[in-house]
């Protein structure tokens, strides 16, 4: 009922975009007395939700095992909510020309605003490690940080998406029994103010525009004009030696063209 198949991978693109904000965080272990860097690593980042068999097969390949390697970052999408505050008129359309196709353009209705919730987690072996990672993230969000996403490449549709930091929580399980390990976890919750797009279709290029103008009272002194506009060729497209109406008929959307204007007084 709703139409033919389409899949713009918009949510996936938002996930990737969110992840790439945090895939280049560096952590340095320094000598407290001299400040010399003893080791520097790129903090591992992964999208959290995974198929369980893949986790078992991929992360436990060696005969030898360890509890986990720290520090780590994970993120996942936690919600998809409609955002009525950013709603625009649903009958607006975008159009873009198609390369090497002067007879048709692509047409797409405006997207629907959706808020995508994300959670970013930081786990570290020490409080200082966790703080070092977290402090490299928080200052960029005031509380929003905007990135430009290439939403629909075929439509040349790019959108500035605001990534809003909603809150930061942390737990440090340092007390209780000696038999329980200490866990230091920071959890950052974000909202990406994104959009979901419908399908795009092709439509013929409009080659004739007609404007009916009426000046004056309808009953008294009324003057009516009909203006028509059609493309006018600027080059000899059919290579017959002259630039004339036959060339005008061959103009397409990708050509450099002028206009024929016709005025008819009614």
């Amino acid at each position: 009922m709703l139409g033919s198949h389409f899949y713009n991978q918009i949510v996936r693109k938002n996930i990737v975009a969110f992840g790439t904000l945090f895939n280049n965080i560096t952590m340095k272990s320094t000598d407290p007395s001299t400040g010399d860097v003893l080791e520097e690593i790129k903090v591992p980042l992964a999208y959290g939700p995974k198929q369980k068999f893949l986790v078992r097969l991929e992360e436990n390949q060696s005969n030898r095992k360890v509890a986990i390697t720290l520090p780590r970052l994970y993120f996942e999408m936690t919600s998809i909510d409609y955002d009525a505050t950013r709603k625009t008129s649903p009958i607006q359309k975008y159009k873009t020309i198609i390369n090497d196709n002067g007879g048709e353009v692509r047409v797409q209705y405006v997207p629907v605003p959706y808020n995508l919730g994300f959670e970013l987690g930081v786990i570290a072996k020490s409080q200082d490690d966790a703080l070092q990672i977290t402090e490299q993230i928080l200052p960029y969000f005031q509380p929003s940080f905007s990135i430009t996403l290439n939403m629909i490449p075929d439509m040349n549709e790019k959108r500035d998406i605001g990534v809003v930091l909603n809150n930061v929580g942390y737990e440090d399980e340092w007390d209780d029994s000696f038999y329980e390990r200490r866990y230091i976890i920071y959890t950052l919750n974000f909202t990406m103010k994104s959009y979901l797009y419908g399908p795009y279709n092709t439509a013929d290029v409009i080659k004739k525009a007609i404007i009916h103008e009426t000046v004056g009272d309808l009953a008294v002194n009324r003057r009516a004009i009909t203006r028509t506009y059609t493309p006018k060729a600027k080059t000899d497209i059919n290579t017959d030696g002259v630039i004339d109406v036959n060339d005008d008929a061959l103009v397409d959307a990708g050509d450099d063209f002028g206009f024929n204007e016709g005025i008819e007084f009614l």
């Binding site: 945090f22 280049n24 003893l38 030898r64 509890a67 520090p71 072996k125 990135i147 490449p153």
Partner: protein, 485 residues
């Protein structure tokens, strides 16, 4: 009222009974236990937050322990957390207090508390090939049997890998770092020399200071700084090493025609042509000279070198040999080395006029407040140099270092762990043990080649066509300075 010394209570014990129980405990552990490596940790701690900033494991002690119990193996100890796979295998060992004192405490380990196993230290259990971190050491259970504690109960959980440095000297223990530590790969430019060895330290020369030396009369007369480097410290200036003289001790430095007053008085020979000649030592004074090779540059006077005394500018020393003594007969001194140049019709005799001293030049460096090496003072000019020696200034503290995980000469692929910074393609990386020298062509710090958890590189690649960073990425570009992104 004091207790009776004649009827010791269970908790007071008797030394004979205590020794017997301890013997039985030790025997049981030796019969049914396993040899476990105890690995103490050395920590660099933050005194404010009171937590470990960096850990080094540099010692190990092998001691038998009895596996009392395991928890988690084979059931739900492996699970998927938000942060990937977690394993919580737990293990309980018993170790004899007496054997602990003998095998560990007696060897002065680096422990916070010498008298017992320490929480936070590691155990390597060869059966599972895994490392366990001690969570708790029970030292009063069971409670003073016969008035003494016979063993400790160690509860340990599978080790969590962090920024730790393993250098225990036991390959299977140190391998945990090679297997699990964060690593990345560099592809080197063609044209490097040597092969890196696994485990060695490598260092780049991005901030290295450089200098050259000037030679005057076989000694260093000046050192010129050609690159002051960067990030050196005033309080701890770098050491300066000047290469050793390139002659052997006791090698001949200068020659003269023989003016021996005896058998070898004839100082010129005939029948020589331009070329290289070996020599034979004829007299040697107190020396043991041998091995000198000379070059006759040209001949004159019908094949006679000089007349009544050879023209010494026509003769070069090719190999200084060693063990010669200076012949000072002509100046009223001691008899020294006189050599015959082999190969002529009438022999050419040469006397060794001076001997190479082999003093190695030394120097010290000073560092400016901005961290640049701004002066080198020669503290010993040295002696015996034929060509200007190389001057090597120690690496800057900021120069990037790392440990080699793997090296493949065919693909010029170098994997490293424990890096202190990010290498650049402009620098030369040197293996401190192997001496191998290669320059990076490309590298990728986003791709942790030791882990299948990390998606940093995959996300970066996916985002290339999605995120428009035309106005710049404040989170940094991008783990590779060589433009692959």
């Amino acid at each position: 009222m004091p207790t009776s010394p004649y009827f010791p209570t269970y908790y007071q014990g008797h030394s004979g009974e205590q020794g017997l129980v301890q013997d039985l405990v030790d025997e049981q552990i030796k019969l049914f236990g396993s040899d476990v490596y105890y690995i103490p940790k050395t920590v660099l701690a933050d005194s404010t937050l009171d937590e470990v900033r960096y850990t080094k494991y540099q010692e190990q002690f092998q001691i038998e322990m009895l596996l009392q119990n395991v928890t988690g193996f084979g059931d739900n100890a492996e699970f998927i957390s938000k942060f990937g796979l977690r394993i919580t295998d737990e293990i309980l060992f018993r170790v004899s207090t007496r054997r602990w004192d003998e095998e560990v405490a007696a060897n002065n380990p680096t422990l916070t508390i010498d008298s017992r196993p320490n929480e936070g230290d590691l155990l390597y259990f060869p059966i599972t090939e895994d490392i366990y971190e001690i969570k708790f050491v029970g030292k009063e259970e069971p409670f003073y049997q016969f008035g003494k504690i016979q063993f400790y109960a160690i509860t340990a959980e599978l080790y969590e890998v962090g920024q730790d440095d393993f250098d225990t000297g036991v390959a299977e223990i140190d391998a945990v770092e090679q297997l699990f530590d964060n690593s990345f790969k560099l592809i080197m430019d063609p044209g490097g020399t040597g092969d890196f060895t696994v485990g060695e330290e490598i260092v780049g020369d991005e901030f290295l200071a450089k200098a050259t030396s000037t030679l005057t009369s076989n000694s260093i007369s000046a050192i010129t700084i050609t690159d002051g480097g960067a990030h050196y410290k005033v309080a701890t200036p770098p050491s300066v090493t000047i290469s050793a003289p390139d002659s052997l001790a006791g090698g001949a430095r200068t020659l003269a025609t023989s003016n021996d007053t005896g058998t070898f008085a004839t100082s010129s020979g005939t029948g020589y042509t331009a070329g290289t000649y070996t020599t034979t030592t004829l007299t040697n004074g107190a020396g043991t000279g041998s091995g000198m090779t000379v070059q006759i540059v040209n001949v004159s006077n019908g094949g006679v070198i000089g007349s009544g005394g050879a023209t010494m500018t026509n003769i070069n020393i090719i190999d200084n040999g060693s063990g010669y003594t200076a012949d000072l007969q002509g100046v009223g001194g001691a008899v020294g080395s006189i050599v015959r140049v082999n190969g002529g019709n009438n022999d050419l005799y040469l006397r060794v006029e001076a001997i190479y001293a082999t003093a190695q030049a030394t120097a010290t460096a000073t560092v400016s407040a901005s961290g640049i090496v701004n002066g080198i003072t020669i503290t010993n000019n040295g002696d015996g140099y034929i060509s200007a020696p190389t001057v090597t200034i120690d690496y800057s503290p900021k120069d990037n270092r790392a440990e080699v995980k793997a090296w493949d000469n065919a693909t010029r692929s170098l994997e490293v762990i424990n890096r202190t910074g990010t290498f650049t393609t402009a620098e030369v990386i040197t293996g401190l043990t192997s001496g191998a020298r290669w320059s990076p062509e490309t590298f990728d710090t986003l791709n942790n080649s030791n882990s299948n958890y990390d998606q940093n590189r995959a996300i970066e690649d996916d985002a290339d066509n999605i995120v428009d960073w035309s106005e710049g990425n404040p989170f940094g570009e991008f783990g590779n300075f060589t433009g692959s992104i």
